[in-house]
Every structure is written in C-alpha cells, then in structure tokens.
C-alpha cells in the first residue's frame, strides 16, 4: 500500500528544500516509487539588478549563495567581460582560478563532513549535545570505532575548511564573499605596498595549500573510500538520469579555449561537445508563467511568479539540455574530463567529489608558479551600451551560467542565472519527466519512514544548494513583476 510523506526541511543542505516521496512495496521491499523536489524560498534577484550599473552584478550575485559565492562572482565577471569583449590579463585569470579553487576545496570538505556524513554515522555516545543530539539512527549506521574516526575527521575538517577560506582570502580579500573579482580581472596585486616582496602573499597562500593538501590526501580521500566500502550498496542506489553536463572551469589560457575541466556533455553513452544554445527551461510544474512558448532559452526567458499556479510545486524551473534531463556536479566534470567513469550512483557522486578536490588542490600548486611578479592582474573595464554577454563556469555543485543584457543607458536591463541546483533539484518538465534528484530517489529502499536516512543519503550526494536555485525570476520586458495577491489561508 503506497504511503506519501514529506521531509521538510531537508537539513544539511544550503537553503530550503522540501521532498515529497511516495513509497510502496516493490518485489517485497519498501522503496520510493515517486518523488517531488521543491525549492521553498524565493527572493527575486533580477528586480534588484535591473536598472543598476553592470559592475554591481559581481557583488550582488555573490549573495545568491554564501557557500559558492566565488563561482557567482566568476560567472558574473565572465558574462560582463563577454559583453565588453574584455580579456583579463594572465595574472588576473590565475588569481581568480586560485581563489575559486580555494572555495571549491572549502565547499567540498564542508559538504562531505558537515553536510553528508551524519547520514551514515551513529554519533550516540560521541556527540550528545545539540545540534547533533537531534538525529536519526538506523541499524546500518557506522558506530563504535568507525563512528569515532569520522567524528574526529569532522572536527578536523572544520579547521581545514576555515583554512581554505583563509587561503582564498589572500587574493580574494575576504571570504565567503570576495571583493577582488571585478570585470577585467582581479584587483588584488601580489605585493601590497611592497613591490619588492611579492613572495609574502604567495608563501602565505602555498603554506595554507600544503596543509590542506595533506588533509585531502591523508584524511579526506581515505575517509570517502572508507565510507564507500562500508556503504557499498550506495554504488547502486541514487543513479539518476545518467546524463551529465559540464560547462568546464578553470581557464588555462587567456583566450578561454582550454580549461582544467573540459566543457561537454555525457549523454549516457558517449562524451561530446556542449552547445549552450540547447539549454532551455520549462515551467510546467514551477510557480512561474510563460506568456509565450513553453521551453525557453535563458536569453529569451519571460516569466512572472505565480504562487497559485495549479499543479506547480516548486520555485525552481526545469532546466533541460536538448530537451533531456541532465545532472551537473563534480561527477559530471570528472566524467566529461575523462577522470571518472565508474558509475552515476550516489556514492559515485561522493567519490568523484573527493577525487576532484584532490585534483584541484594539486593543480593549484602549479598555477601559483605561473604568476608573474609585477605584471598586471586587472584591466579597468569601460561599459558600452546595448551589448549582451554570457558567462559559463562551474560552481562546486555544477554548471553555472550568467547572462547579462546591458541597455542603451549602459545599465543592466536583464540578468539571468541558471544554477547547478536548478539542474539537479529540478521539478518535472512539461513532459512530466522527473528531475535528476527525483529520478535518483525512485528505487531507493526505505526501511522506516520515520528514519528516512536512505532518502537523505541520495539527496545529499547531489550537495543541493537551494538559495542558488530559486533566486531568479525573469520579467516580461514590458510588464513589471507583480506579486499576486492571494487570499489568506492558501
């Protein structure tokens, strides 16, 4: 007999996520047969950006999310640079990659230990104070020495993620939100007020990087492998759509023709190139209305929010690539880049994320040596009117795109963002096809609906960030955005 229940809040993510699942007996086992993923918070960033000077965008858009703000800053700078045909100097490109890399590392360590691990560990008798004392407990959770080991790592990881932000702030100014990312490059210079000693900041950066690399190698990757061996069944659970998309990230040359992680898609069979023109968003099950069309490219999106829309269940739209359901994230990046191909299960996502962290940290040591003492890192931009731009990069959680239109008055007329969590926590599209998290949940066994840890394990493997996915609305250019008055009690 089917039972439908709601988990809200899904905790240990960023932001507000509700999951509604239906479970039923399938071949003698209670498992998920249907799922709905809902973003339940909305802000409306486009309204705030419209009419503002374009250079405000990298600062404002970083506040879309406090876990991946650097990626938004990067995407914002890139979209404006694209609109202005501005190429940052090499030093600026490298400095931005280093700050971005530092935040990738911070985010991935935070995710595994502080967001995901508690799904797998019985902390009773080890961490008995809040917030850990409010917990689910299942018989399959790691306990005893294994649990103690993970708790020790959890506490050490708090220090390492702090150091990762400290490292990024050397050239970022402050983190989580960095101040040195501006269209034209990175405003920070290697030696502040002392051009004869640029080594000071570089030594500061690499000293922290070495500590962090030690933790990644000695603790993070081994812990992920240990978890994978204890919970081996999760290499078969949470498989999702099996199609992966990566915009690529960490430009290796100034022209943007070569990236540390390639741009491309895996269609379930082969890896191939990605055509940004095939990205669309549908709103059949989202609280938005399109006045014309049903599957719109972001550059022609027109939307009004409608909390009363029948059948809608999320403030997230449904991004699709070539009309199909694609998943973004470290697994997608590593797969498209040829670095991982074991599978697309929830444990594969966790393993790929850890291996990616190691790959990025190791590469950063090399990137530092490419900095040129005394060379410019920033070219001041000149805003030109009536131009458009696109910035495609990757956040820790996956493919991130910003699109700007600058008007005749040189102010922002349109600003759009599609985030990785929009891809991953997408609701159904107009055809009723489930989004990646929804698909991944179908087939997940649920032993006890009051302790739904299996569901949490699958959801957390995607590392959802909901502030990212529900921030945007795209206005009809002729009509201002309306808040629909709804009667009390709805």
């Amino acid at each position: 007999m089917a039972t439908t229940f709601t988990i809200d809040p899904v905790s240990r993510i960023e932001g507000h996520l509700k999951i509604e699942v239906t479970v039923d007996e399938v071949t003698g086992q209670q498992q998920v047969v249907d799922a709905k993923s809902s973003g339940t918070m909305f802000r409306g960033f486009e309204n705030i950006l419209a009419g503002r000077h374009p250079l405000d965008a990298p600062q404002i858009t970083q506040r879309i999310c406090g876990v991946c703000p650097v990626s938004h800053g990067m995407a914002s700078c890139m979209t404006i640079e694209d609109a202005l045909s501005l190429v940052p100097p090499s030093n600026g490109r490298i400095l931005r990659n280093l700050v971005l890399g530092a935040n990738f590392i911070q985010s991935h360590i935070l995710h595994f230990y502080h967001l995901a691990a508690l799904d797998y560990i019985n902390t009773q008798g080890i961490l008995d104070m809040p917030p850990w004392s409010y917990r689910h407990i299942t018989a399959d959770m790691a306990s005893g020495d294994d649990a103690q080991h993970f708790v020790n790592s959890y506490l050490r990881a708090l220090e390492i993620r702090r150091k990762s932000h400290q490292m990024g702030a050397v050239f970022g100014g402050k983190l989580p939100m960095c101040t040195s990312f501006n269209p034209g490059g990175c405003t920070d210079i290697l030696a502040v007020g002392d051009s004869s000693n640029p080594e000071g900041k570089i030594a500061q950066f690499t000293g922290l990087l070495d500590d962090i690399k030690d933790f990644i190698d000695d603790t993070f990757v081994p812990d992920v492998q240990l978890l994978g061996s204890i919970f081996n069944s999760y290499y078969s659970l949470g498989v999702g759509s099996g199609k992966l998309i990566s915009y690529g990230v960490f430009d290796l040359d100034d022209a943007g023709s070569s990236r540390f992680f390639d741009r491309g898609v895996y269609d379930g069979s082969v890896v191939g190139g990605m055509d940004a023109g095939l990205i669309t968003e549908e709103v059949g099950y989202s609280y938005f209305n399109y006045a014309s069309g049903t599957s719109l490219h972001p550059s022609v999106g027109e939307t009004a929010v409608d909390p009363t829309k029948v059948d809608a269940y999320s403030y997230i739209k449904a991004p699709r690539y070539n009309g199909e359901v694609y998943e973004a994230g470290p697994l997608a990046r590593m797969w498209v880049n040829g670095d991982y191909s074991k599978g697309t299960s929830s444990m594969d996502r966790i393993e790929a994320r850890a291996l990616e962290t190691q790959k990025i940290a190791n590469a950063m040591s090399g990137w530092v040596t490419e900095l040129t003492d005394g060379a410019d890192s920033y070219t001041p931009p000149s805003i030109v009117p009536s131009v458009e731009g696109q910035g495609l990069t990757e956040a820790p959680r996956g493919a991130l795109g910003h699109w700007i239109s600058i008007g005749a008055d040189s102010n922002t007329t349109r600003y759009q963002v599609i985030t990785p969590t929009a891809w991953n926590c997408s609701p159904r599209d107009d055809g009723g096809n489930l989004g990646p998290v929804e698909q991944a949940l179908v087939g997940t066994p649920v032993d006890d609906i009051n302790q739904p840890v299996e569901i949490l394990r699958v959801i957390h493997s995607f590392d959802p960030c909901l502030a990212c996915s529900v921030h945007m609305m795209r206005p009809d250019e002729k009509k201002p955005i309306q808040v629909i008055d709804i009667p009390a009690g709805l």
Binding site: F42, R43, F45, P131, R162, G173, M177
Partner: protein, 348 residues
C-alpha cells in the same frame, strides 16, 4: 567511547589568540553553567553568515562554540535530523490535542486560517483546528536566544519562504518567526538581511522582505533585539557579542541597533578614518593603491572594525584587495539607483 567536552577541546585544538574580549571575561563565559539555548532560523538567506561564522578563530573556534559555549538546538544547515524531528529542536515536541485543549476557549478561534492563526486541521490535528498563533506559541519551546539569518518575506501571507512541514502542513518563515520570536529571551539579527532587510528587501523587493525588527513591528512583537549586520557578518562580531551576553554584560547599542563596541556612531569610528588608503591621493580605477572615493568606496559612511581586524583571521580585507568598501554593515545596503551604486562616486 564517550568523550567529555574537555576532550573535544583537545581534539579540536581550540586556540585562543588576541581578541577584542579580555581573557578573564571569556573564561567566565565559557564556564557558565547551563550553556544557553540558541535557535538559529534562516529565512531569505544565502547562508553566507553561517559560513562566515564557521571561519571564527579568535576568541573561540566554531567547534568549541558548538560543543562548549552554546546549545545550538536548531540550525537547518548543521542539525543531524531532518523534517519534523529537526523542527522539534526549534519548536519543541508537537503539541497534542489535549495540550491544545488546555488553551481554553481561545484555541477554537473563529474565521479562516491566516493572519496570526494556524490551521491545525491536517492529519494529527484537530477537526476544527484553527488556533490563535499566540496561543499555539505558548505550547512551544520557551526561553532561548533566537538568531535570525536572512530577511523575512511578509508579502502574500509569507508564502515566499517555507522553513518546514509538520503534520499540519507548511510552516512559513513568517509564522515560524512569529512563534519563535515571541518565546525568545532575545533576538539576534545576524547579517544585514536580518538586521535591515539587505538584498532581498532592496527596491524591486517582490516578496515583501523585511528585517527581523521590521517583522516584529508588523507582527506586534516586543522583544529585545541586537542587530549584528555585515554581508556577510564578520565571525568575530557574532562571537564577541555572544561572549558578552554569556558573561551577563549589558550590550550598549548604537543608533542602528548594533553593538556599540563593534560599530558605533562617531565619525572617528568610520572605516574611512582608519583606512590605510586615506590621504594617499585618488585612484583612477580599482587595482591601484590609492583612495577609491572616486570609485564609489563607501568607507566614509560605514562602520566596522575591518581596518584593524581585517577578515579571515587577519589575512586581508576589502580595501586591501585594491577594491572598495561597499558599505555592507549599513541600513541602506545595497542601495539602488540613484541612492548608490557600488562603483559610482557617492553624490555628497
């Protein structure tokens, strides 16, 4: 193997270095019996303030803060449980029908669910279960510090932010704040969104986003509150304030509701007054080691200890990256055209 809290400190390698709080006060706060209960509620938030708080090092590290300084009974980013079990950390156990009956005749309020009323007629609820929110709140957890991160959308009866679901249906941020603020000993607004509305409440605000103080005014709640702004908050601003509270100190507030020991109103305490770029000539663009007033720097209109304490454990700060101060601790952040834009010279 059970670990005492002292063992945690050793494991965590808690470090206490130079901070704004004299050591003797910190020890008194750390040793206070009955670590205070803290409920951390996120509304229209980016979580940047929580992430920033996790960067604290001076005074306490975040692990010591959580294991030995406060009882963080609800924070949706960190709490182990999900769903209703997690919500019990914030509200306490779900009131039973019998408990609702103890509210007397008021619990069967007339009229539709809506303003200041909760519809409890879902599964597990009562047949005619419209309850006055204030009466329902009386059955929820009492006595804690409520921390608010993010703005509170008051438009359309709060539908633009749900913080959870219980047996009775969705719980809006508006209603959650209504209940939790009423039962709190005090409210700490962490970050500029909670303190002043911030980015969600900037003009163009389609959701009716307001600050915690603004929401309390609309909901008719009178409660002591402290604004600790910043976009994001600096971790020391939160930690140093909490340590003072634990030590039983009275926190003097400035004219914007901020701890005066961290912010203040005097011109001499503006960021500009302590800025190393002051008096070095005018930069013609970002990236130059000169004063950036002509590039829109708002250091003249902004308070915070950024010049002396910097960010991320003294590594750098906004000015040190040859960029500008965007005034993120002030009530008018992030401004709008024509109030101010970040890189346009202020029109004063």
């Amino acid at each position: 193997m059970h670990l005492s809290r002292r063992d945690f400190l050793k494991l965590a390698g808690a470090v206490g270095v130079a901070s704004t709080i004299p050591t003797v006060m910190l020890e008194k706060a750390m040793g206070a019996t009955g670590d205070p209960r803290v409920i951390w509620l996120q509304g229209q938030s980016c979580s940047g303030c929580s992430v920033s708080l996790m960067n604290c090092l001076e005074t306490v590290t975040v692990d010591t803060l959580l294991t030995d300084t406060i009882n963080l009974e609800y924070h949706s980013t960190l709490i182990a449980a999900a769903g209703e079990l997690a919500l019990s950390g914030a509200f306490g156990p779900h009131p039973s029908v019998n408990e609702l009956c103890t509210l007397g005749t008021n619990w069967l309020a007339t009229g539709p669910a809506g303003e200041n009323k909760l519809d409890l007629s879902g599964p597990g609820g009562t047949p005619d279960g419209i309850v006055n929110l204030i009466d329902y709140a009386a059955l929820c957890k009492q006595g804690y510090i409520l921390v608010v991160e993010g703005a509170i959308p008051m438009g359309a009866d709060g539908v633009f932010c749900d913080i959870g679901h219980d047996a009775n249906g969705p719980i809006t941020m508006k209603d959650a704040f209504d209940i939790l603020a009423r039962n709190a000993d005090a409210v700490l607004s962490v970050g500029t969104c909670a303190s002043y509305g911030g980015i969600p409440a900037a003009p163009g605000n389609p959701t009716g986003a307001v600050s915690a103080a603004g929401a309390m005014e609309q909901l008719g709640i009178t409660k002591s509150y402290i604004n600790i702004p910043g976009c994001p908050i600096h971790p020391e601003w939160f930690v140093d304030t909490v340590v003072k509270i634990l030590a039983g100190e009275t926190i003097t507030l400035d004219s914007k509701g901020r701890p005066a020991f961290l912010f203040g109103d005097a011109n001499s305490e503006r960021i500009h007054n302590s800025c190393p770029m002051k008096g070095t000539g005018q930069a013609s663009h970002l990236g130059e080691p000169k004063c950036k007033r002509n590039q829109g720097c708002r250091g003249e209109f902004t308070w915070g200890h950024c010049p002396s304490h910097k960010w991320n454990n003294g590594v750098s700060w906004c000015i040190q990256t040859m960029s500008t101060c965007t005034g993120c601790t002030e009530p008018d952040y992030p401004g709008t055209n024509p109030l101010f834009e970040f890189y346009t010279p202020p029109s004063v």
